[in-house]
């Protein structure tokens, strides 16, 4: 019974990992981009859930029961929008330079972390004003025919001007309205998302107790995976995405808008991160560092699963989740308690952090046997 119980918990952790790794795997498989800000996109999804929850709390208890149905698509949309901005403003310029992308996305992740810590109304005003002035100015100038010649001087004038006005406005509004404007929205402390009442119970099967939250997360993961599978296999844009994955140059020659495909892929991957954030917000407190806890595990899933393989990602996520839970909770140590030597060995690894050590060692050992992951890509393009 203990074993079944742990197995269920392990699978549910695997489900969280999978939903976190899904977006990463798609983006990495298609664009070859490692997005270190993926964890922060999850965090944005979690905070979106928090905001939606608070909004529904105001509407009353009856509404509150169903806020999740609204929170999940919101988390998807907000994270996808941030991801789209990220792709357009940063990553687009770095295709073909994966290591630089790694550094740039790390910078983005730092900025996003600090953003949720210190965002307040006065900062919001500043950012809004800056966007209006700078991007509005560029938009107006773009209508001129000689824009290409004007681009550099225009940016050189507009950028410091709008930055200056924005900072001045934000400081001024902060001084004018005091705390109402300068108080951070979320702060550095973690915030808590309350699951609605019907998610707080559990399903009892004999002596087995399955919390609804975990069942819900597993269900959500299944829906996401199925949705992505159907999208990639059945929709016209899915076909284009698969074509670009296989051969970017050839796809471009055949008239597939690869830039649009990239942007779309990145937005969808980010959106999935948002949903993952929504899921993890039910498991514990949400803070600016939330994403960091999941990101490396999610990467390990991608490495073990093999690039661009949905199925590999699924298997790897469930396997890593289950193994690390079985090790970390001490289940394996309890199972082999008859054999003294083995029991001592597994007891040493029977906590969450030591289980990580063991899982990493297992992954390195696994990569010795299958260096390219569970289901490696075949063909000549792989080594290029």
């Amino acid at each position: 019974m203990l074993f079944l119980d742990s197995l269920f918990n392990g699978v549910s952790i695997g489900a969280v990992l999978l939903i976190a790794a899904l977006g990463l795997a798609i983006v990495f498989g298609i664009m070859g981009v490692i997005n270190l800000a993926h964890g922060e996109l999850m965090m944005i999804g979690a905070y979106t859930t928090y905001v939606v929850q608070n909004g529904f709390k105001l509407l009353g208890d009856n509404w509150f029961e169903f806020y999740i149905i609204f929170a999940i698509p919101m988390a998807f949309l907000v994270a996808a929008a941030v991801g789209l901005m990220l792709e357009r403003w940063v990553i687009r310029y770095l295709y073909g330079r994966p290591l630089e992308t790694l550094l740039a996305t790390w910078g983005v992740s730092l900025i996003l972390q600090q953003f949720v810590r210190s965002v307040s109304w006065s900062m919001f005003v500043g950012i809004l004003l800056f966007s209006l002035l700078f991007f509005g100015g560029i938009w107006v100038l773009k209508k001129r025919l000689d824009f290409d010649r004007l681009r550099r001087p225009a940016i050189a004038v507009l950028l410091p001007l709008s930055v200056g006005i924005a900072i001045a406005a934000s400081v001024l509004s902060g001084n004018l309205f005091k705390l109402a404007f300068t108080k951070p929205w979320f702060g550095a402390q973690g915030v808590d998302v309350t699951a609605p009442g019907w998610l707080r119970q559990g399903l009892e099967l004999g002596s087995l107790y399955l919390p609804y939250v975990r069942l819900f997360i597993i269900g959500l993961t299944v829906v996401c995976v199925a949705g992505i599978y159907l999208f990639l296999q059945r929709s016209p844009w899915g076909l284009r995405i698969r074509a670009v994955t296989q051969n970017r140059t050839m796809s471009a020659c055949l008239g597939i808008p690869t830039q649009k495909v990239d942007a779309l892929t990145f937005a969808i991957g980010s959106g999935l991160a948002g949903i993952a954030g929504c899921a993890i917000s039910f498991l514990g407190s949400v803070g600016p560092n939330t994403g960091q806890n999941y990101i490396v595990d999610a990467f390990m899933v991608v490495v073990v699963g093999g690039v661009g393989q949905l199925f590999g990602t699924i298997v790897a996520a469930i396997a890593i989740g289950t193994v690390s839970y079985l090790l970390g909770s001490g289940t394996i140590a309890a199972l082999v308690s008859d054999v003294n030597f083995l029991s001592d060995f597994f007891s040493f690894f029977a906590n969450t952090s030591m289980a990580r050590v063991m899982v990493f060692a297992l992954i390195i050992a696994f990569l010795q046997v299958r260096p390219a992951g569970l289901f490696p890509q075949k063909g000549r393009t792989v080594d290029a």
């Binding site: 490692i34 550094l103 910078g107 730092l110 490495v303």
Partner: protein, 399 residues
């Protein structure tokens, strides 16, 4: 008759060889003189002009510059982005810290490091024992990181795991080692790390004279590390490294086995990180698992990126510059300084991909020449660059 020609030939060859050697040695001589002068300046003059606090900062950052040299070797020259150098840095730091913790006066009530008695440890763990000896500690400072790097590197490179995969694996290793050190309260004081050092070789660690010796040692080791990297990258070995970076597959097809080279350079880089960690620990007086934070390991890379990859000077300049501005920014904007750090990452990658030194070498020098009204250096055929017709065409095309 035949012999005559050949001897004449040889004579010519010797002359040419001598000339070539002279030409090659002249910049090296200038460089050696410059490096020596800077080192002498740093040791003999700088300490008298800086306050104790600033000298302390300088010393720490010089130690970090050694680390940056190692990163430059592996990332700048070999093209492998390691996000796990915090491990090696921390291992070097822990090695020296363990030696310092074992400097217990013989009349003390307990012959164990103070934190151990707190957790009820009665006997010194076996792996602490070698650190009683100072020479063994000195060897451990660079040997342990180098051995670990060799082990990890061999397992990874043997399977041709590279690029972002390598980065991810090293990043995961950082988390693993962080957990490993963080969880072992009894053995190495877990989260709190090792701190509160008293004496080294009989001298007090916090004494200003000792600290000056450490400073001098740091400068000398930095010069040594610089010359080691210089020597490694200057010759055939360095060419292979660059070849690995630029096209590893082609190198393999030319009959080289990149694995050995990669393992070796990873080990050397790890050893440099270990030395840096030891020096840093001596000066800051603490080593904790925080040194194995992912953020710190990625920061190191950005020092090199700011200074300029594949330029050894760039690594040193970057480490000093970024760290100084970091401590300044933290003191000025403690609340929002992460914005600046994140912005720096974006700025360097997007706007200044070659770093400061790289920019100076390419565009900066032309900018300077334009200021003094000299023609710009051209990288392609000068005739083509100067051709008015070509120039007009380019302007019309808008680039």
């Amino acid at each position: 008759m035949n012999e005559d020609i050949s001897s004449e030939h040889q004579e010519k060859a010797t002359v040419i060889r001598q000339l070539y050697r002279q030409l090659r040695q002249r910049p090296r001589l200038t460089e050696a003189v410059t490096v020596g002068a800077i080192a002498l300046f740093a040791i003999a003059i700088v300490p008298f002009f800086l306050s104790a606090f600033n000298l302390d900062l300088l010393n720490r950052y010089l130690a970090l510059a050694i680390l940056a040299l190692g990163i430059d070797l592996i990332w700048g020259y070999t093209g492998m982005l390691s996000l796990g150098h915090g491990i090696f840095f921390a291992l070097g730091g822990y090695a020296i810290a363990m030696h310092l913790k074992l400097q217990i006066p013989p009349d003390a009530s307990s012959q164990l490091p103070s934190f151990m008695s707190l957790y009820g440890v009665t006997e010194l763990p076996a792996f602490w024992k070698p650190f009683y000896s100072f020479p063994l500690t000195l060897i451990a400072v660079f040997l342990i990181p180098a051995l670990l790097a060799t082990f990890l590197g061999y397992l990874v490179f043997r399977n041709r795991i590279r690029g972002v995969y390598f980065s991810i694996l090293t990043q995961a290793a950082t988390i693993v080692f962080f957990n490993l050190f963080n969880g072992q309260q009894k053995l190495i004081n877990g989260t709190n790390g090792l701190t509160d050092f008293k004496t080294i070789l009989g001298a007090e660690v916090s004494n200003s004279n000792t600290q000056f010796v450490i400073y001098t040692l740091t400068v000398l080791l930095l010069v040594g590390a610089y010359y080691l990297c210089r020597w490694l990258t200057g010759g055939r070995f360095g060419k292979v490294l660059v070849a690995i970076r630029d096209d590893e597959t082609r190198l393999r097809f030319s009959g080289y086995d990149p694995t050995g080279y990669k393992v070796l350079v990873f080990a050397i880089s790890g050893a440099l990180a270990g030395i840096a960690g030891a020096l840093f620990t001596l000066r800051s007086g603490i080593i904790s698992p925080k040194a194995m934070d992912i953020a710190f390991s990625i920061e190191m890379v950005i020092w090199v990126a700011v200074g300029g990859r594949a330029t050894l000077i760039g690594a040193i300049v970057g480490a000093l510059l970024v760290n100084y501005s970091k401590s300044w920014l933290i003191s000025q904007f403690p609340d929002i300084w992460l914005f600046f750090q994140g912005g720096l990452f974006l700025l360097v990658v997007l706007v200044l991909p070659n770093g400061l030194i790289g920019w100076l070498k390419t565009e900066g020098i032309n900018l300077l020449r334009r200021l003094v009204k000299r023609p710009r250096y051209v990288t392609t055929y000068p005739s083509l660059e100067e051709d008015p017709e070509v120039r007009r065409e380019r302007e019309n095309l808008g680039n």
